[in-house]
Symmetry: C2
Subunit: 198 residues, 2 copies
């Protein structure tokens, strides 16, 4: 199974994925890293690991779908079987999601359906929950609302700061995401995953 990672930033989850592939903890081939930001550290991490990269500038496209069609063009070369979002800050178009129906997964730094959106860690901390966590889910057209594949709880103690919590969450992400990616690739290679099959 071939997969692509879409990333916009630092790419620490991408690094965890690259490390897991090297240790054969993920039995699938990361063929391509796509970024919408030319200065994403994720690109440097990919290049160091000798993984193909491409940067696509949203400014060159009129619509979200045009942009996503460009990504899909790049995918054809390999071809890509499934897609892993890792700190990718753009919403995917319905077209893209349909092309990879139930073959796109994302990681969210909270226990969905709590604290959806781009500030999951900060909002959980501010709310004062005592338990938050990490969610890996299938990407559907409703943001952060697709079928949940895995979740892990993270306790917030009175000693935690936003920084210490962020670190704890990232540690869980880096352990959980590779495991789920490996499992997801196996599931896909065994059968076509369709709606309601997860």
């Amino acid at each position: 199974m071939n997969f692509a990672v879409l990333a916009s930033g630092n790419g620490s989850n991408l690094q965890a994925i690259i490390n897991a592939i090297k240790k054969k903890k993920i039995n699938a081939n990361l063929k391509l890293v796509v970024s919408d930001k030319a200065d994403a550290t994720a690109l440097v991490r990919a290049q160091k690991a000798k993984i193909a990269t491409c940067t696509i500038n949203p400014k060159n496209f009129d619509t979200r779908e045009d942009f996503d069609r460009k990504i899909l063009e790049h995918f054809k070369e390999f071809p890509i079987d499934f897609v892993v979002l890792a700190g990718y800050m753009r919403l995917l178009s319905p077209y893209f999601i349909q092309q990879y129906f139930h073959k796109i997964i994302n990681i969210h730094p909270a226990l969905l359906p709590s604290f959806k959106g781009t500030h999951g860690i900060r909002e959980a901390f501010a709310y004062g929950v005592k338990v938050t966590g990490v969610t890996v889910h299938v990407v559907t057209e409703d943001m952060d609302a697709g079928p949940i594949l895995a979740q892990e709880a993270v306790k917030i103690t009175t000693k935690d700061t936003l920084e210490s919590l962020t670190e704890k969450i990232h540690r869980v992400e880096h352990r959980l995401y590779p495991r789920v990616i490996d499992w997801f690739a196996k599931s896909l290679s065994r059968r076509q995953i369709g709606p309601g099959r997860l």
Copy 2:
């Protein structure tokens, strides 16, 4: 510290509280159990433990506040320092909540802010989350949205049914609620808890 329990149903959390008091795991006095249902098993449990009970029939009152004023009248006899909700199915009036400002606590069978409302267990199970849990929180005028005192995570495995999950949640409730009640009574006896102090 004297407290009252408000209950509408089976009262399994009330039973856990009664047991914890007997074992001196709660160092506060449960003086009164109030129910809005004459046939609540909670009343039988209280009577067996020789705790005063009263049933108040909502049909005899025009407004929610009138009903709650009747409860507060009963409280004066002891008097009651704080209030514990245990499967109490009525919303409290703003008047009642102001009278016991930050002195009313509730237990919710999910990890708030997820799955608010009366079907926390069922809705979490139907959603397909892999982690749910139990929340103890201070009761404010926004339902299930007051400051969180304690949370504990409960895993949902592929083997779980709604029944097995319900049992797991209840087990955690019966362990967590007495601990938090004891802690809450201690906090109250040390200092007046005001807004923003929790």
